[in-house]
């Protein structure tokens, strides 16, 4: 494979698969945050 092609493949992997990992981390983090509804309950 050419250097250019390898770079583009790695970039695609980092963005798309990395994006998936970040999205999953965000979802896990949001489980621990109070939602707007919960915040209303605390009023």
């Amino acid at each position: 494979m050419s250097f250019e092609a390898i770079v583009m493949m790695v970039v695609a992997m980092v963005i798309l698969w990395g994006g998936l990992v970040l999205a999953l981390l965000n979802l896990r983090r949001s489980d621990n945050l109070p939602t707007e509804d919960d915040a209303h309950r605390d009023l």
């Binding site: 494979m1 050419s2 250019e4 092609a5 390898i6 770079v7 583009m8 493949m9 970039v11 695609a12 992997m13 963005i15 798309l16 698969w17 994006g19 998936l20 970040l22 999205a23 999953l24 965000n26 979802l27 983090r29 949001s30 489980d31 945050l33 939602t35 707007e36 509804d37 209303h40 309950r41 009023l43």
Partner: protein
């Protein structure tokens, strides 16, 4: 309405048992045949590595925002596509039925492709196609004659197609969680593992590097071509299963406190992540085939039916341990296809159930049996492949794409529901939908989709699709696309069996010292 009455009503409609099940079902719907056989070729044809730029922009600026619009519609309105639209505005109900009509039509032909893939999973074991996969596909297997309509039944297609429908019937009768949810919880991880194994196998074939070179070498000048951008937006749009009722329906089965924006982000990236995996697997295999035949990759690159049922059989015949590649590849197509077929059919079942206040079993049987009969009638015959090709081409463009644009514009500019929908999503969402989302949904995405639609319209008027006879294009192409519109607006005129159906269930009320909050 008290919370318990709510819960009872929702339990009666059906619900996913958890967010994880919902997300697997949504991924199962989004990841379909297009991810495997369309994306790799579209990326390759439209700039290779540089296609990543428009593709990513399309995903973030149109794909995920549109997915969130569907989620908001279904999750807020707690209903199938027609009910969700009707609860926004009675006049918009027809849009929901138009989507239902499209889904019905897709289900009828999509099942046939799954049946072919099922058959090919077994053909792979003894390489039944010999040394002429194309001749075998159209001759011995499909027994296709001249384009037209012929009622001669092909048993080799009829039997697997009947099996596919039987499996779908069981899933639909079992319901949202025990049927759809359970199927996806098993099939999606298996699909991922099978495809990952296929990718690893393909990467070790001689010539794989050349295939990946062809896929990833960037052609930066392609970025100045409007057609490349249209291809990126089109790929994202078709791949995510947005705009024709599926995600509305699935979102209506999700718990009220679920983080829908966060879930949407995961589904969007999982779908694109799988496309990338498919691209690597498919082009590694194509690289092998090019090397084995001493030709350039561009001579073997293909998409759709040609890639799956002509190019892959050739690869399977030539590669060491080809049968393994065949079972993994066609098995993946079957699994990816079935989870998408189920989601398409659920749009119809859910709508019928809501409108006529039917039981799950009643609605599932009332929808699945007629679909199966029509599917067997049209697609197990010697002319099935032509009808399928035409319906698929037209219903994608002048069905899905058209209804998506029209409903988006109606919601944004006529009903003006975007601020309400954004407010709903923000109640439990981890990513706030601000003005940026409203701008993307009301301006950017419709412009991109209208542009693609107009290009397609001009192309299809100028050049009759694949040179089929005009009467066939008018009946199964333009006619089918128009018929679902007429059906949609007629269906919306019939009465809801439950007179209170259009009342939006109250959100759980929370009383505070400052009064009642929502």
């Amino acid at each position: 309405m008290s919370t318990t009455v709510h819960e009872e009503a929702e339990a009666k409609r059906g619900a996913f048992s958890s967010r994880k099940v919902f997300m697997l079902a949504a991924i199962g719907s989004a990841v379909g045949l297009g991810n495997i056989w369309r994306f790799p070729y579209v990326a390759y044809e439209n700039g290779g590595g540089s296609f990543l730029v428009p593709y990513l922009i399309a995903l973030l600026a149109a794909g995920i925002p549109f997915l969130l619009l569907d989620y908001a519609l279904g999750h807020r309105n707690r209903g199938s596509a027609p009910l969700s639209f009707a609860r926004l505005s009675k006049g918009a109900e027809g849009l929901g039925w138009w989507q239902v009509g499209i889904c019905f039509m897709i289900a009828v032909y999509y099942a046939a492709v799954i049946a072919w893939a099922l058959r090919y999973t077994f053909f792979s074991l003894n390489e039944a196609w010999g040394d002429d996969p194309e001749g075998f596909l159209f001759g011995e297997f499909l027994q296709a004659g001249e384009p037209g309509v012929d009622a001669t039944v092909v048993m080799g297609v009829l039997i697997p197609l009947a099996l596919v429908w039987l499996a779908v019937l069981v899933v639909m009768v079992l319901g949202v969680q025990k049927g759809i949810g359970a199927t996806n919880v098993v099939f999606i991880p298996v699909l991922f593992l099978a495809f990952a194994a296929l990718v690893v196998r393909s990467l070790f074939l001689p010539g794989a590097g050349e295939g990946l070179d062809a896929l990833f070498t960037p052609n930066w000048s392609a970025l100045t071509d409007a057609g490349v951008w249209a291809a990126a937006f089109g790929q994202i749009f078709f791949s995510l299963s947005v705009g024709f009722g599926i995600m509305i329906t699935y979102a209506s089965y999700v718990g009220r406190k679920t983080d829908m924006t966060g879930s949407g982000l995961v589904v969007g990236f999982a779908n694109s992540g799988f496309e990338l995996l498919a691209g690597i697997g498919v082009f590694a295999a194509l690289g092998f085939m090019a090397q084995a035949n001493n030709v350039a990759v561009d001579e073997v690159a293909a998409e759709g039916l040609g890639l799956a049922f002509v190019a892959f059989p050739a690869i399977i015949s030539e590669a060491p341990a080809g049968a393994l590649i065949g079972v993994l590849f066609f098995g993946s197509l079957v699994f990816a296809g079935l989870t998408s077929l189920i989601s398409v059919l659920e749009v119809v079942v859910s709508a019928v159930r809501d409108k006529f206040d039917m039981t799950r079993r009643g609605a599932a049987l009332a929808v699945t049996i007629p679909s199966a009969i029509l599917s067997l009638m049209f697609f197990s015959t010697t002319s099935g492949v032509y009808v399928l090709d035409i319906v698929d081409h037209f219903i994608n463009r002048f069905g899905i794409l058209l209804v998506a644009v029209v409903s988006m514009v109606v919601i944004a500019w006529v009903v003006r529901a975007l601020p309400t929908l954004a407010g709903h999503m923000d109640r439990t969402g981890s990513i706030p939908l601000g003005k940026w989302w409203i701008a993307l949904i009301s301006v950017v995405t419709p412009i991109a989709l209208v542009y693609i639609l107009v290009r397609e319209l001009i192309d299809n008027i100028k050049t009759p699709y694949e040179g089929y006879p005009t009467w066939m294009l008018l009946t199964f192409g333009w006619g089918a696309a128009a018929a679902v519109i007429v059906f949609g607006f007629l269906a919306a005129r019939s009465r809801w069996r439950d007179p209170d159906a259009l009342t939006l269930p109250q959100q759980d009320t929370i009383t505070t010292t400052k009064g009642t909050v929502r």
